[in-house]
Symmetry: C2
Subunit: 524 residues, 2 copies
């Protein structure tokens, strides 16, 4: 595929109206061809008018037709995986092999959402039949299904240029829900974005869908994102990125005359608690595992186990030593963007200024854009006294917390803000402490992991990638896993309808063969 750098709107390519940019290779510090177009509010407006036009037909596609469309995107994603991986590697400084895997896994996500669409259970069809003889008042027939919200604005994330970007899980779940998508591409990987966007655009055309079903826009600074969030035809927004960026969009959307749902996935340190018996039994193994998982994607992962807490005692020294040994094996690596690298350096220094002791580090940085692995340590007292030590350092820094007692462990657990995940390493002898800790963690996180690390991320029905603020802006939803579709649908009740005017999912005789809730009982 020859990259053209154009925006993708209405099934066609749209040249720059607001300047251009080039991709940056953080491994070499060089800019890469070609020039990528920037657009502005006019392009956002055009994309959204088309998306709005597309809504009526796209949201009413048959389940099989929509599933086939998602599978076509999956096929195309697999077909371009080598090219996509090579370009993404250039734009991120991360290994191409990682992105081949990411492309295949993300194609799998589209296939899983195709299965969700075919099952049709996401429609949550419910039927309360008429009860004409009920006393004191008869009951009319009521039938409910979920419908698509409308055009969705999706902000591509910087850190996973496939799975959380243009052809990522947000797009898959919004398209599965029946929502047209206007995608704001992240400027850290414009070439990867174009490849992904063009295959979706092709799939839209080959599936005979309205060309407004998908658009890709890009712009300098914040203006294009603000135009998206402000646009009256946008009905939902998703964003994955920093707390500052996410909250700016969130608060802006809430100031619209008509507020819309905004799901932002922002920040998490994914605290890992190691209880005494587990620490004594396998401290070294946990210390090694911590660093290995923590360094994944150069520490630029939402599920990075950034903070490990353990009561000082048997095994703690071994854990620390193993972590120091492991971190020394990590080369400095290019970070996603120079801006992310600068923030990383600043935030890692902030931890040290706030008393974190440097236990170990990776090899020296090759140059200014490379992030050096760091292992820091604080005491429980320090963690409790200084809130910023409980905040994320996006990049390859890990923090050990040496606690003085089980009581302090519980106190520390209570001090964290909302998290995407928390991890518990515990053996049978730790059961009492584990049982005391679990309710504390459950209140603060969307996922609890037991005796394992939460990376790699599993995309399945029981996945939660969400959690209380600031992990996300709405803990009732997940951005990964089959439940992600629920961000984009709303209930509609059809009351006293003749069968022929009802949506297929709600008709007598259950022509789609769905699981439906009939008078409160599941049936099909």
């Amino acid at each position: 595929m020859t990259l053209t750098g154009d925006l993708l709107i209405g099934g066609g390519r749209v040249p720059a109206t607001a300047g251009t940019m080039k991709a940056f290779n953080p491994a070499t510090g060089e800019f890469i061809e070609p020039e990528f177009a920037f657009g502005g509010p006019a392009e956002v407006d055009r994309a959204l008018r088309l998306a709005d036009e597309a809504y009526d037909s796209y949201s009413r596609t048959g389940l099989e037709e929509r599933a086939l469309f998602l599978e076509l995107i999956a096929d195309k994603l697999e077909a371009v995986k080598d090219e996509l991986a090579a370009r993404t590697s250039l734009e991120t400084g991360l290994p191409a092999a990682q992105f081949e895997g990411e492309a295949v896994r993300t194609a799998g996500v589209f296939r899983k959402f195709a299965a969700v669409v075919r099952q049709g259970r996401f429609l949550q069809a419910a039927i309360d039949p008429a009860q004409p003889d009920r006393q004191p008042t008869p009951r009319m027939d009521h039938r409910l299904q979920k419908v698509a919200l409308g055009p969705v604005a999706i902000f591509g994330a910087s850190n996973f240029p496939i799975s959380y970007s243009v052809a990522g899980g947000d797009t898959a779940s919004a398209l599965a829900a029946g929502c047209p998508v206007v995608l704001k591409a992240h400027n850290a990987h414009p070439g990867a974005s174009e490849i992904e966007g063009r295959i979706i655009q092709e799939a839209v055309a080959e599936s005979g869908l309205h060309p407004g079903v998908f658009a890709l826009v890009r712009g300098p600074g914040n203006e294009i994102g603000e135009a998206l969030v402000d646009h009256p035809l946008v009905k939902a927004v998703t964003f994955t990125g920093s707390e500052a960026g996410g909250m700016a969009l969130y608060r802006r959307a809430q100031q619209r005359p008509d507020p819309i749902p905004v799901f932002t996935e922002m920040t998490s340190v994914n605290p890992t608690f190691v209880l005494p018996a587990a620490l004594a039994a396998r401290g070294a193994e946990i210390g090694t595992g911590l660093v290995q998982r923590g360094m994944y994607n150069v520490g630029q992962a939402c599920l990075k186990p950034a903070v490990l807490l353990a009561v000082e005692g048997p095994g703690y020294a071994e854990l620390r030593e193993a972590a120091v040994t492991e971190v020394a094996k990590w080369d400095a690596r290019p970070m996603l963007t120079p801006g992310i690298h600068d923030a990383y350096t600043r935030n890692a220094q902030r931890h040290q200024d706030n008393g974190a002791v440097r236990l170990g580090e990776g090899t020296a940085p090759e140059d200014g854009a490379y992030g050096q692995a760091l292992l820091l340590e604080v005491t429980g007292e320090q963690l409790l006294a200084e809130p910023t030590l409980r905040e994320e350092v996006f990049g390859p820094t890990l923090l050990l917390v040496k606690l003085s007692s089980s009581e302090q462990l519980l106190e520390a657990a209570r001090a964290f803000r909302g998290q995407l995940s928390a991890t518990l390493h515990a053996d049978a002898a730790d059961r009492t402490t584990a049982e005391a800790l679990l309710p504390v963690l459950e209140r603060r996180t969307g996922r609890i992991v037991f005796n394992a690390f939460s990376i790699p991320q599993e995309v399945s029905y029981a996945t939660t990638h969400g959690g209380p603020f600031p992990a996300t802006s709405d803990s009732r939803f997940t951005s990964v896993g089959m439940g992600a579709i629920e961000r984009f649908i709303r209930p509609v009740t059809y009351q006293n309808f003749p069968d022929e005017l009802l949506p297929q999912a709600l008709r007598d005789g259950n022509p789609l063969g769905l699981w439906r809730l009939v008078d409160g009982e599941l049936a099909r």
Copy 2:
């Protein structure tokens, strides 16, 4: 029950700290004994600290225990229904018989939520078993259930002093979800609020639950509501009332350091579309029905069919004449509060200042607090040109819209903001127009009613009482019906857990006998 006027916090009665008030009888214009206590931020803080304390135990109550608690509230509501109806009638000027029915129906809502709790399907248990041999990476065991958000602040509504107030559907659904409730009582019916609050307080005590599970607060002006919405321990807010009031709370909550879900149900004119064949066949019947349902609760109902639209043609004159005849039968009636009456008079006048013609009216007002029934008419051109004609007049005013064509009918349908419901009267010969209109309505409303009126409200699994803004602040939820519980729960994933540490709902062998999603398929 002897009313004491106290606030209800922590299982006890709390006297006034910020002055007192008396209830007002809008039928007689007289104040009624006793004095009711006002509290302030200190009482809110106390209630929320207790609610937060109660969360850990209450959110973990067994399903049977929680269901029995809800049924106990239902029993108590039925037991006090005569006393509650009599007091509510005094405080609203509406007939006691209406409130006996409302008390019984609302007890039914608690019983229905008890059934929802017993079924346990709201936990949405999902299990993706481990696949240790999967290639290229094994899958860990993932299990998901929904958990309660935390303490919920509920604002009692003015217009249904039982079903949307202290012991109403919001409270039933939040308690069913496992959330403690802090209820801000509406000052329009403090006696009804006390009766309802005390039976819940009794039920909490008799069920052996933590006394923080329920509290009732009351205050002058906005301060107490603001303290509630701002409090760091509140995890969700629900409100039913005006757009101005709802949006003030909504925007305030979004300005918290940690935004929380706020569900506000605000305003809807529930447009009724009468298509030509239906109009010709039964115009008079529809005109009579419109007024009869429109006058329910003195026009102070969220589902009031406030605006009826029809293309001028055979049957229109009959519809109009029948409506004029019917409206003339309606006495002026006391409205809920003098403030609501004033706003009603002002808004009905606004319609007329904006060109609405007075077709008919009820009998003359007895005095200043009584609302007079009004039937107004505008043309389609007028409705399209003047946005306020598409807005709610809360009270017994109905607006007929005489359209010039089917095209104008579609244009008018597109002009409305989001609605709780829309109604379609259509016969077989109207099918083409109906099929063109339905997608337009579906985008703008949470419920479409066919050849019927949407009052009375049915509380069931297929109920949606929600809709796009400004009907509600989040169209993905409903405030009435079994789905209302979803406002108060969030997913948590337990990854790689030993069976004995899992919540009951997720354990091997399915000890609770729930429907669960196992590897994407429903099973039990």
